[in-house]
Each structure stands twice: as C-alpha cells, then as structure tokens.
Symmetry: C2
Subunit: 206 residues, 2 copies
C-alpha cells in the first residue's frame, strides 16, 4: 500500500482513484513490455522507465518483481476473461458456439505463451490446481459452448470433453510443447482447431 492511498479527513478520496489509475498505468506499461519481450526478459528498471516513474515507486507498489508479475497476470487474466465472456465475437457472444470455442483456445494459447514463466512459477499444487477459479471458469465456459453446440457424450455429459480440452491448454503442457519440443504457436493453435473439429465441425453443430 502506498501512503498516498490513505484518505484525508474532510477531503474527497481523490488519491484512491489516482492510485488505482496509476496502478493500471504501471501494469499497462509492464504488459506492453511483456508482449514485446516475453515475461522472462522484463526487468523492474525497464517497467519503471516505460511508465516514467522511479524504480522506488514500482517497488513500493508491488513489493518485488514477483509481486509485479502476479499483479500483472491478475490484470491480464481479467482482460482475457472479459474478452471471452463479454467481448466482441468471435471470442465473445454473438458467434457460432464452436467458432467461439475455436477463438477461445487460440486466445488462451496466446495469453499463456505470453505469460508462461509467470504462470509456471505460480502453478498451484496438484490437489488444488483444478479448484483455482480461473481454471474452473474455463471449464464452465467450454461446457457452456459445447452444450450450445449440441456436443455431449453419453448421458449428456460434456464435462469429460471440456476437461480434456482445457487440459490441452495447461501451462505445463504448453511449456513442454513450445519450449521443450519446439512446436510453434501456430502448430499448437492448429492442434486446438483439430480438437474443436472433433467435437463438431465449426458452422454445423451436430
């Protein structure tokens, strides 16, 4: 917490709104650098310079580089969620459900490859991993689209397919395919399109 965030008696809480705006400005600067260079190459110095603030401001606000990266992933995760929940089609509402599903996987692959090191460092342990709200939201979203497209297994169970699809998007697997096996982002995205095509051809729900 920055001292400037403390309200002053008898004055409007101007500093709080300022602080929130400043926080977003710092995170936007960090996000632009991550998009350009990859999370692993972004330093506190570079973010401070890009946001035109002193390094001290950045450390006071986020504690350390890990704190900045966690705040950044949180900020980026929110933007990514907004995009597939309420953004423009084909990712957001309005497009064919399987087109949305295709766009969802491609957006997820791009989001994760951008923040891969941060996501890997922040991975929860095996018994908590599937309870993380961000992952649960993905499963719910994929289930909804599969149901809308009329894709279901025996007994109308879409969950196994949704879990297998979301499993393909796990950071640990993307890391393996991209960094250890040298699959290009395009090959990983084409793999996702293949999986969606197995669920049902885009444009002609079964």
């Amino acid at each position: 917490m920055d001292r400037s965030e403390l309200p002053v008696l008898g004055q409007p809480p101007r500093e709080r709104a300022d602080a929130a705006r400043n926080r977003v400005r710092l995170l936007d600067a960090a996000a632009a650098l991550v998009a350009e260079q990859g999370a692993e190459h972004v330093t506190m110095e570079a973010v401070a310079a890009a946001a035109c603030v002193g390094k001290g401001t950045l450390f006071r606000r986020f504690g350390d580089r890990a704190g900045l990266m966690l705040a950044l992933i949180d900020h980026a995760e929110q933007e990514y969620q907004h995009a597939f929940m309420t953004g423009p089609p084909p990712l957001g509402p309005g497009a064919d459900p399987l087109e949305r599903l295709e766009a969802f996987g491609v957006a997820t692959v791009r989001f994760e490859l951008r923040y891969l090191d941060v996501l890997l460092a922040a991975e929860p342990c095996a018994t908590k991993r599937c309870l993380v709200p961000a992952r649960a939201l993905r499963v719910t979203h994929v289930c909804t689209l599969l149901r809308q497209a009329g894709c279901a297994g025996r007994g109308g169970d879409v969950e196994p397919l949704a879990q297998a699809l979301v499993g393909y998007l796990e950071p640990a697997l993307l890391h393996h395919l991209h960094r250890q096996r040298h699959f290009s982002a395009e090959r990983i995205e084409d793999g996702w399109r293949d999986l969606v095509a197995l669920a049902g051809p885009v444009g002609s729900p079964t």
Copy 2:
C-alpha cells in the same frame, strides 16, 4: 540395501536372487493391501504382517513408508506398462487400435485411482512433468494407436489429440473429479470412452 544382498566369495550369488524375490514378495503384499484399502490407508505394520516379516525388514529394505510407496508405484507402473505394451488384448496387441485405446484409458484410470495419493505426492514440477518417461510413454502409445486407427488432424498431426487424451488421465484431474467433485470411477471411465468415440467409433476406424 540389505546386508544379505552382499555376495559371499566362492559361493554362488544366491542371496541376490533371494533378495530380489523377497523384494517382489513384499511389494506384492503391499500392492494387495493397496488394492483392498487404497494407498492412503496402508501402514508399514500392515504390510509387514501381510508379508509375514518383521517391520524392521521393511524399514531396512525401503527406508520409510514414502520409500515403500515409491518402490510400489514403480513396480505397479511396470506391470501396467507391460499390460498395455505386451499383455493380452484388448489392452495389449491383437485388438482393434481404438478398442485398445479404450482399454488403455480404463486401465489407466483404475491404476491411478488405486495409487492416487502416491502419484499426487510424487508429481514433478510444471517444467519437468511432461518429460517424465512414464508420461512420455503414454503419449507415444496413444499416438501409435491413433495413427493405426487412421485418426489424424491437419498435416497428419496426432499429437494434440494424444496430449488432450493423456491430459484427461493426469492424476491431478482424476483427483479433482473423483475426490473433489465426487465423480464415480465409472463416470470418469465413460468420459474416456466418449473421448475415444470422438476420435473415431470403435470397430470402424475412419
């Protein structure tokens, strides 16, 4: 290492073969208890009693309970691998590739639910998880069966589908579905059958 494993000069290395047999006997006793009660309920005392040895023998051989469980999972993993690589059909060679794939997933779900706690405790970190030879072998096996069945994505790439299928069998996901969401083993296995049916109907490869 047990002292009885040290060879005696001028005598045939009888003790080594004995030691190996004893080790298998102890592991078989432990495996039977795990099958009956689940890994989390099996104590060193119970294994020693079932194998008719003193607790000291068990501790000398395996160090501690975690050591016994790791030896056990290694032993069970080898049996499971033999079953799908060289065992009788439908799991082993001789059956239709998609029938083998269906049997493979069902066998994997059963194997993992039996040893779930041991597998979760031994899970490698995110950057090494997909390099583990046992997981790599599963991917190779599923790729082989998919190719034999004529299931491939654009450019003949079966790997994304294989990775999504193997992802459905990750211990962390089975733990979530079975323990946290209370899916029965049957529902998880039916989910696998649904996934295989999407790849291509069993008995009629595409």
